[in-house]
Subunit: 191 residues, 2 copies
Amino acid sequence: MHPEFETYLRRSGLAEEAVRRVSDLAVARKLRRNELLFSAGEICRHKVFVVSGLLHTFNISAGGNQHILQFAPENSWTLDVESYDRQIPSQVSIGAVEPSEILCWQKKDFDMLLAEVPQLKKFAEGLIARNIHYSRKRILISLSATPEEKYEDFIQTFPDYLARLPLRMIAAYLGISIKTLTRIRHAQLLR
Amino acid sequence: MHPEFETYLRRSGLAEEAVRRVSDLAVARKLRRNELLFSAGEICRHKVFVVSGLLHTFNISAGGNQHILQFAPENSWTLDVESYDRQIPSQVSIGAVEPSEILCWQKKDFDMLLAEVPQLKKFAEGLIARNIHYSRKRILISLSATPEEKYEDFIQTFPDYLARLPLRMIAAYLGISIKTLTRIRHAQLLR
DNA sequence: TGAAATTATGGTCAGCTGACCATCTTTAGC
DNA sequence: GCTAAAGATGGTCAGCTGACCATAATTTCA
């Protein structure tokens, strides 16, 4: 049904029966470049797995500046947790940076799967732990690192994003201006 | 055994039997002001509940500046997740801002409780969800807010901390200098 | 392929921010 | 209660950062 996703789940250690149950409830969808999954103010109704492409979770502040909370490349999951968990309007938007193929689950379906497929539950807990660890690291960096250190950490952590993303999005993710990012890159060229 | 904690757990919806099992494995400990639970480089071996007082999770950067990841007041939990989950050296330290009374569980004991007390597991999942929501909010603010907005949000979110914490710790939590914080407060006095 | 949009870079400048230092006030702990 | 330590504020200044604008390069997509 969704062969790439099923391979991903098998590699993550789920048994065939579990893979089947999860995969059966997924609905495939394609997003064009810049197409939105939902906008700020709407409710995040689905759990989303990215089969191919690249999504980003972002917010446009009062001044019109974009701020990026997360990127979601192929073989990763995305949603706005707070909006999804509580089914309340989201503060953020999720959209496609590249043309993307995604799988969507209704919240009620995925909740049912979590309750009935222990292997999935366990797997999801691992994803949550990774998420928490990364959030902590990001908060610590945002508190303590200089713009240059933030950029260095970014390309260490996500080496392939540099070629896939416009620099302005990297700046929007790091919380620095595109000008500062350009200056850092310029300075590095001279080394 | 630990009456305040047991009241907290009951109010959180746990049945008497569950309360008893969790409480029985807790070890009480007192911390003096500025005493550390553990230092960066050590492993976070316990899950900690704060009965009274106030702890903080922090890190000292290369330049000697303190950065604060989290405060944990009475009736809240604290630990360094990554160090605790994987039992690896922590990047951060946890210490007492005020003289504090805490309860500690060994990881193996708490893991056992989570596996055997479904009500605790469910409760812990709720705490994790809150934690994730708050981390997201904090990242978004760190990306998008001005120092003044960060301070405003802080006193909205934690109204009582202003009276309990030295300003330099608030600055260390917000990722701004004490000087900038003083300037903001000075400007607000004139309004 | 070609036109339009997006992106990256650079110049300039105002002003915010942090570092350093000094002073005064408050708090901690014996 | 008293003494020492910690904390808060202010002055000053250098310099980093972002806003604005222009230009050149690249990419998109019809």
